[in-house]
Assembly symmetry: C2
């Protein structure tokens, strides 16, 4: 069914040079999907042309920003499936510049939805929401029906965009599927800064032999999902009948303490270290507490389950950057 679902299908991936978007492209290229990647390649986020190195001849790349409503209107919207991964990805930056976050993460999605409604309302749409939509967590694991109390512009714009997708689904019948994604990591993630994709950032720190800083005792639980497990869930959800209008909480379903994640990174890399510091005062306002996705609905809805443990995922990620790290960051000279 997966093969049929993508064979010679016209696929648009916005944010297609980033970690998740490019991993979808790499997964779908062998199925002979007709792939268009749209990416603004904003310098502060994760677009990296090396991410699609192995499929470069099999994809079309359009350099365009989802904020550019008129530019988007020039595209041929005759796509069968649209994966919307373009986004402002930093929780912290959304606090510093709420306009930027709103323009990309909310108005950008409105641009896509309005064009799909006007030009091709049968296109199958995927939207990537965030676990942060839930805000402060009362109980884990977190199921879909739990109330959303988003704490930052990033989180509240994701929540608003999700509601917009659901509105276009109800009102115009546009088939949308929404994932609220926990903490993804793995190959193709950016390693330029610590603003998001923290597992990847820590792998870089360890590879550079630097000490990793843990806030507090590091006991806060997170749900880290390896990119291949996430991509497999996305590509299956988008070809399974009945998933239209559905929202899923997505993660590995297992909690890992921040401290254990860091220890796994340091052990696997074999260099680096870690130490604890007090939580910065202003983090208290945005820290959500423990988060674990309840993936019951996800596992019940189609043939999928997470298959890669945090140890295995970190090992594969470290391997990837040992081989290709120079495309993502500059290792310090040996002599330093």
């Amino acid at each position: 069914m997966l093969e049929q679902g993508y064979h010679q299908k016209r696929v648009l991936i916005t944010g297609g040079l980033g970690m998740i978007g490019s991993s979808i492209a790499v997964r779908l290229a062998p199925l002979e999907a007709d792939i268009t990647i749209l990416d603004a390649e904003l310098p502060m986020y994760g677009a990296n042309s090396f991410n699609i190195e192995t499929i470069r001849d099999q994809v079309r790349i359009v350099n365009l920003d989802i904020r550019d409503r008129h530019g988007l209107a020039q595209l041929d919207w005759n796509f069968d499936l649209i994966f919307n991964l373009a986004g402002q990805v930093s929780h912290n930056d959304s606090m510093k510049d709420p306009y930027l976050d709103t323009e990309i993460n909310y108005l950008g999605q409105l641009n896509v939805l309005e064009l799909v409604r006007a030009r091709n309302p049968k296109a199958r749409l995927f939207f990537s929401g965030s676990r942060l939509q839930f805000g402060k967590i009362d109980t884990v694991p977190v199921a879909e029906h739990q109330p959303q109390r988003p704490l930052t512009p990033y989180a509240l714009n994701k929540s608003a965009a999700e509601n917009l997708y659901l509105f276009y689904h109800r009102m115009y019948g546009i088939p949308v599927t929404i994932f609220r994604i926990a903490n993804p990591y793995g190959p193709r993630g950016q390693m330029k800064h610590s603003k998001y994709c923290i597992v990847n950032w820590f792998i870089r720190q360890a590879m550079e032999g630097k000490p990793i800083t843990i806030f507090g005792d590091g006991s806060q639980m997170r749900d880290y999902i390896y990119i291949d497990d996430l991509v497999e869930a996305i590509v299956r959800a988008m070809t399974t009948p009945g998933m239209e209008g559905e929202v899923f909480n997505v993660g590995s379903g297992a909690g890992t303490s921040f401290r254990d994640m860091v220890a796994t990174v340091v052990d696997t890399v074999g260099t680096g270290s870690y130490h604890h510091v007090e939580w910065p005062a202003d983090y208290v306002n945005v820290e959500t507490g423990d988060y674990i996705s309840d993936i019951t609905k996800l596992k019940r809805s189609f043939d999928w389950q997470p298959s890669i443990s945090i140890e295995e995922g970190v090992r594969r990620t470290v391997d990837y950057y040992r081989n290709h790290g120079q495309h993502y960051f500059s290792l310090p000279a040996q002599s330093k």
Copy 2:
């Protein structure tokens, strides 16, 4: 305390020529508040300079749109209290033009919040949300903690703006108070069209001797709150210590069926009639079901309770438009 709270205080009311904004101005002028009214006077909404006829010499009027970030920045933001009533008010229009709704109801509020943060973070802010933020209702009365599942761009932008106010409160300490208002009606409401303020619209229909159309059997419950009760709650909330960061569901706390509301209007006016028709097909997507506000928190938080029944409120409203109707709509010539 109310007197002290407003005496010679600098008050900004955005949307101050509309029903709620102007009624706040009329309430505060005798307390010698120093009132600035900001209004874009957009033709499709409720701005009406007659609304402030009795206090015209006691207020300053600025013609400005909250979408105009640079225009707003020219204001002196040295206000003690800011009542944000400016908004796109039509649920239905938000579906036809989601950009317009987003630009006014979300980005417009972001403009206000960013200027307050930068220039005067001690200003006391009021934001008017909507009962529609809740979407489809499972059980009435509806308390504050019930989950928000907004059904339209209007509702989801109100919800996003509320989250934004709460973010600016948590992160920057800006004292905000949020009301999610049920169905207000009364003097100073617009009577040009049926898009919102439906009790007022029906009063006009009855005054013109026209038949009023009820969808279905009219058994759906609504919570109609008379403008004076609403304004009294707003002005008290804004001077009661401890209300900063608080959200309230606001209404009369009593349910009235749509049919009974219409019958009250027709009885009170003494002309007009009503008849039932089937629900239009597309209303099913946005109809919320019965709505009644749970006003327990509101009544417990300060000295307030609704004091005007639907019969009394409709009577006062009819009186108002019998005296001043020509400023709101043109009655047909007697001969017709």
